[in-house]
Symmetry: C2
Subunit: 304 residues, 2 copies
């Protein structure tokens, strides 16, 4: 199955209770691509960076067999930069700096070789850009999953609704689901959001796991309880990548396979938070992933 | 297996986004006893009420085959009364009135027929009272579970530590676990709290389910996602009752059986919140409980 990712490839700088980084590799597209790379033969990425984006960061992606030919390089511009700070409660973060740079006027270009994609992942970007990619594909992919955030709800509601109506799966966090639906109960929120278009909704709840809604069913997955969440940046993107990566390897798209894909999403996210930035996702061993799946089974399965 | 509960039998008054009640039947001991009554032949209750406690509330307990001979009646005093208000986020509540009344000088008296108990549940009360019950039993019960709250951590830390060191299972919520351990991570919190004495720790997380720690293992159970949480009062006590009730019916006390008991705890708590006060717990059908167990399996089990 071929898989196409649209999302930012960027610089992050981070402060957490465990330390500080300078500018490191980040961006939703980066985390999604790294995560899918453990499932998919050669994920394709559409993005844009500036002339300041170092070759060694491209090397990190290529080492994971990620196709970077869809990443535009704007020689005279600067790469998107985000600087964030986490407090003791890692669910809360302050954005200290956001420099859009190349993302400000990003026009996605789809290489011809990416046209025939089976799975499309729309990372968190302007809903207009997300829609341009859907509309730029001559054949609709088998499955389209999409992330978004409160920012787009605040400033581009109508555009967002248009794009959401075109996708199969929406993957957002609990605050975003509540804002989007104006419902506090996540069950009620899911009912409203599923009426906006997508057939499935996944609500990420950070350390509390995630909920999958669709086909009038609900599935709940735990997050792995951890002594230390080192850096939560990219965990949601890694979750999305793990979900779509695992799903792309299944024979059918049905609720049972989506359940195991949500668990795999949590498995991948649990690795992401163990080190700063993309570090942990750059070199995962197959048996590390398998051991963690076993951990998730032990964590949640019961007999009664 | 015989089961002894110590806890308040009281009046509650409630305001939730769904409505208001006058004084209704409440109290930790009441919710725990009602919940255990679906598993245990004749749960015993040690408590105290005032002369104002109506006969029809005793009838509710007796109809569920709960032994009330251990509930002292102080004719000239008034029953404990709590008045609380919930906001849209049902995890947060304001206490508007607390009248300790008969609880102020409560000295637990253990009827001779309660002496030989197998399972002891210490509902949220002063740690001194909780310890008096443990010490008043000539033979240590096979298993002692205990609840507590931040209030006792604030004003009776040393007494609390003494009592905690004597029990097998501590059942508290996430805020309480964080306050008790001064750790934000619940994994780290569990490590510290298990060093205080108990062999097992259950951390309740409201709508996010619960975590069970012990034997160097972790189990996570979901809460049933609900469109409407009508009234969360007593959910934690109902959880504790369901946990101990189900566990008391198992052949062995081991981690596997504690896992299914934590799920049963969540099952029972999911009923509690569906109506005001004890209403839903007064008349549950066996097949309602069985159907909900199936719902929990569907909600959390996956194949991979």
């Amino acid at each position: 199955m071929s898989l196409l990712i649209v999302g930012s490839v960027a610089f992050d700088a981070l402060e957490t209770p465990f330390g500080k980084t300078g500018k490191i590799l980040g961006g939703a597209g980066t985390f999604i691509a790294l995560s899918t790379s453990y499932f998919c033969l050669k994920p394709n990425v559409i993005s844009v960076v500036g002339g300041d984006f170092p070759k060694e960061y491209f090397d990190i992606l290529e080492k994971r067999n990620i196709d970077i030919s869809g990443i535009q390089i704007k020689k005279d511009e600067k790469t998107f930069f985000w600087y964030g700070k986490y407090h003791t409660n890692m669910n809360v973060r302050d954005t200290l700096i956001t420099e859009l740079n190349v993302l400000e006027n990003f026009k996605p270009e789809i290489p011809a070789s990416y046209q025939d994609t089976d799975f499309l992942i729309l990372g968190n970007l302007s809903p207009v850009v997300q829609r341009e990619v859907i509309e730029g594909l001559k054949k609709r992919p088998k499955l389209i999953a999409m992330d978004t955030m409160n920012f787009w709800m605040d400033i581009m509601w109508d555009e967002l609704m248009k794009t959401i109506s075109m996708v199969d799966i929406l993957v957002i966090n609990d605050d975003e689901a509540r804002q989007m639906s104006r419902e506090h109960s996540l069950v009620k929120a899911s009912e409203k959001i599923l009426k906006m278009g997508p057939k499935y909704l996944i609500i990420k709840k950070g350390e509390h796991g995630a909920l999958l809604f669709g086909e009038n069913k609900i599935f709940s997955t735990a997050a792995l309880p951890m002594a230390e969440v080192f850096d939560p940046t990219g965990a949601g993107d890694t979750f999305l990548g793990g979900f779509m990566g695992h799903l792309s390897k299944q024979k059918d798209i049905n609720f049972e396979n989506m359940k195991s894909s949500v668990v795999m999403a949590s498995v991948m996210a649990s690795f992401c938070v163990e080190k700063f930035g993309t570090k942990k996702l750059e070199n995962l061993e197959k048996n590390e992933i398998e051991n963690r799946i076993t951990k998730f089974k032990d964590l949640t399965h019961f007999k009664m």
